[in-house]
């Protein structure tokens, strides 16, 4: 592969490229789904390459799924022609932040390769979950799934880097959809929209306690049908970890992507309120709010050795004691905040996509509270968890999120189950209402596998760590009567 890679670089240079890199990517996926007793198994294997070049400070990118020397020559030439067209409308030349060159092989630590676990064993677990979920007639749809992804990626650059990475991630989850009482309610485990995902092997699935929780999840879905609605009111809310992941992702992660901040996503995903004049000054949240990005954290979905710029993975602060102190950056834009080095956030969906800035693993540092004490300390509130819906404006200010399940808190005690829980606020106003975070015993990483951005659209994966967190006086139950 390195030989093919070097050929791409040579051809690109021949056609005038000042910088070039190639990523050759071999991806294997296995998805196993059981829905209402029916099994579907999908296996895919894709292979291709993408060549990115800089010509007089402008980008060009082209790709192909035909990995031959003649195709590499053709695509490298195309990338250069595209870059030349880009340079015809240029205000500022792209200049890449310096990075050491690497010759390395990095891989995800794995105990059990999920692709070597027999299919019957994996399907059998899903069938057992399915059987438990469908034991009660109110459950109309039982859906359980497992998904595994193995990416082998070669990165070769004109600066001399030659990097191979083997990235493996595993995940599983299930949901029960209950119908009745003129209503439909869904409960999921361990999280919604596909479950929980980590980088790692089948050992992750074995630790998820999937079977042990199936009965509870089924019964909660049924109980929600008759539960009262979340009141349309203002309450103190404690948000569980599975919902905090979306809160962090949408209101901090995307808001601190430097390309958004600089207007590169203005026409599609949007921009950000966290503009450069706020850097190192702006009070994003209360003093107890500490958010850090970390592409080296064990089991994170954005955990890897190097990003698609060939930058070695790092850990850095985004919000420290409530103040905005960092952004997600790449080699192209790092200098816009005065950084000499990229934070290593440039990633692409596949060989056919140009790398763009993506959220790294971004986590809210744990606090000191025990959950029981936090509930005891809350007079009039709602505990809500597990994401059901999400929406946020194009500058990441006004958000409204819905949760699968909630519980009333009255005078320090958990009370009735509540359905259709939602909350709405303005990002920095909301984070400044944060007055308590549970400790590391309640803290976990939660995987996001469906983060969309860019044109053409790209999907990326990352994780967010969080523990249950309290926010004071938040509007809840929007639209509920």
């Amino acid at each position: 592969m390195f030989k093919l890679g070097k050929l791409a670089i040579e051809v690109a240079k021949h056609y005038g490229a000042d910088y070039a890199d190639i990523r050759i990517i071999d991806t294997k996926n296995e998805e196993i789904v059981v829905k209402n007793g029916k099994l579907n198994v999908d296996y895919s294997n894709t292979l291709g390459f993408g060549i990115r070049v800089l010509y007089k400070g402008s980008w060009g990118f082209s790709s192909s799924d035909n990995l031959t020397t003649s195709e590499i020559k053709k695509v490298a030439k195309e990338a250069c022609f595209i870059a030349k067209a880009s340079s015809s409308l240029q205000r500022e030349k792209v200049r890449l932040a310096k990075e050491d060159t690497y010759k390395d092989h990095w891989f995800t630590p794995v105990l059990k390769n999920p692709f070597r676990i027999p299919l019957e064993r994996k399907a059998d677990l899903l069938f057992k979950i399915d059987e438990i979920l469908r034991k009660k007639s109110e459950i109309k749809v039982a859906y359980s799934e497992m998904s595994f992804q193995n990416i082998r990626k070669w990165f070769i650059s004109s600066e001399g880097s030659e990097i191979v990475q083997d990235l493996l991630r595993s995940g599983a989850g299930y949901s029960a959809t209950a119908l009745g009482n003129n209503d439909m309610q869904v409960r999921s485990y361990p999280a919604s929209f596909g479950g929980q995902y980590y980088s790692g092997g089948y050992e992750i699935i074995e630790q998820m306690e999937l079977l042990q929780n199936a009965e509870r999840i089924r019964d909660e879905a049924i109980a929600l049908l008759k539960a009262p609605q979340c009141p349309n009111s203002v309450k103190d809310i404690i948000i569980g970890g599975a919902q905090m992941v979306l809160q962090i992702h949408e209101s901090v992660g995307h808001a601190t992507e430097l390309d958004r901040v600089l207007g590169y996503e203005e026409n599609y995903a949007g921009s950000s309120f966290a503009t450069l004049e706020k850097y190192k000054k702006f009070r994003y949240g209360s003093k107890i709010v500490n958010l850090f990005a970390d592409a080296t954290i064990p089991m994170g979905l954005a955990t890897q050795g190097y990003d698609d710029d060939g930058v070695r993975s790092q850990r850095w602060d985004i919000v420290k004691e409530g103040i905005l102190v960092g952004y997600m950056t790449n080699r192209e834009l790092a200098h816009k905040i005065g950084d000499r080095r990229s934070k290593g956030c440039n990633r692409s969906q596949g060989f056919y996509s140009i790398p763009i800035i993506r959220i790294s693993n971004l986590s809210l540092a744990p606090g000191e509270w025990e959950l029981e004490d936090l509930i005891r300390d809350t007079k009039d509130g709602i505990y809500m968890d597990v994401n059901k819906s999400w929406s946020i404006d194009q500058r990441r200010l006004n958000f409204q999120f819905g949760c699968e399940i909630g519980y009333e808190i009255k005078n320090g005690r958990l009370g009735r189950m509540l359905k259709n829980c939602s909350y709405q606020d303005i990002t920095p106003v909301f984070w400044n209402k944060c007055d308590a975070i549970c400790n590391e015993n309640y803290w976990d990483l939660w995987g996001v596998i469906n983060c969309g951005k860019g044109q053409p659209g790209q999907r990326a994966e990352m994780s967010h760590g969080a523990a249950p967190t309290r926010f004071r006086k938040v509007r809840v139950g929007i639209g509920n009567k």
Partner: protein
Amino acid sequence: MLKKEKLLDFASTIVKMSDADMTTVSIVGNKESLTRFSNNEITQNVDSTKYSFTIRTVYDGKVGIVSGTSLDTKNIKKFLEKAKEISKNQTHKKEILPLPSKTDYTFTKSFDKKTETLSPDQRAKYVKDAVKICAKEKMNGAGIFSNGANSFVIVNSNGLEAHFENSNVTFSITAQAKNSSGWAEQNELSVKNIDVIKNTKIAVEKAKKSKNPKDVKPGKYTVILEPAAVADLISFLSYTTFNGLMIAEGRSFLSGKIGQKVVSEMVTLYDDPYFEGVGGIPFDFEGFPRKRLTLFEDGVFKEVPTDRKVAKMLKLDNNGHSLGADDEYGPLPLNLYLKEGSSNLEEMIKTTKSGILVTQFHYVNMLNPMTTTITGMTRNGIFLVKDGKIKDGLKNMRFTQSIMESLSNVLMVGDRCIVQSGGFGGGFAVPALKIKDFTFTSKTEF
């Protein structure tokens, strides 16, 4: 893109190589070239051509599905072996329906070679035209000019051969001023219909008109939704409310309501892959011909999108809306066409004493599929209409609103459909709508 004959030949070769009881091969090809600009310069410029094939084999009532990218028959043996291994390693059989046989399809003109093959220089020229207008107005232009083509092939061991291709071109622009913005977009099957200058001027005008935006209180308002905003709303109906399986399983607002009046009699809605300019696929993902459906006629719920499974559940005919033989999501209408009315946008504004004009929505998401309640933000041009005139630009607001309730509250329907969200499966065709009692629930700071 590869020619029809080559794609059909590749798929047929795989079918012949397979020793399964049943074999189906589908290929999706996609060429996408896209020039992206922001801050009045080109920031990204990409070209990608990729094919993915999927092989479905059935051995003794057990299904194996594998997919890959390289259209090289030398690699196929390992994929067929993998599909066989998946089937053999299953202990549970499921009901397998017979494969559809060869049939005829109705094609509309959906492919233009020139559109597929526009060069990066040609795209750059279009972008320069747009940026020039923005720069002259001291605004930042951001957007895309993209062109490409899609192809879709299905071949099975029962003799079916289906091929479809469409081309597409999109110009989209946001004109960003000091404290306001405007947006316009055009999706076409042929580049000859694209008007970059006209769209850029629309975006610039919207940004000008909405400068120094005012606040209004959240609440119920009469709204005039431009076509893009209407598409943002009804796209949710496509994969939830009109999902045939959800309807059959009682999980949709429309469950058990066939023949009932469910929205305003001003609303007639079709699923129409044959609507001019939409570029819809004339067959479903099993290869059955896709029938044009009347979903709502004068407000009455008439037809359900079906595949064979849903047709059996609801005792209806299969009308060709399958997402695949093993699909568990449910058959969908992919090409909604909301029938035009008789009002133009100016008349909608003129007849409004007090209301809000919305250009587009942002980040819309479903809150409650049973009530079709969704939430989202306005974006890039929201205006206060007073006494028949656009008075002020407004700061953006969040709405929380049932779609079906909105379609019951329609006051006027636009006289011109615009195609939105083109792509692989084609787009939607929708006009503007004027709707009463549309609920905004909160506001934002810009």
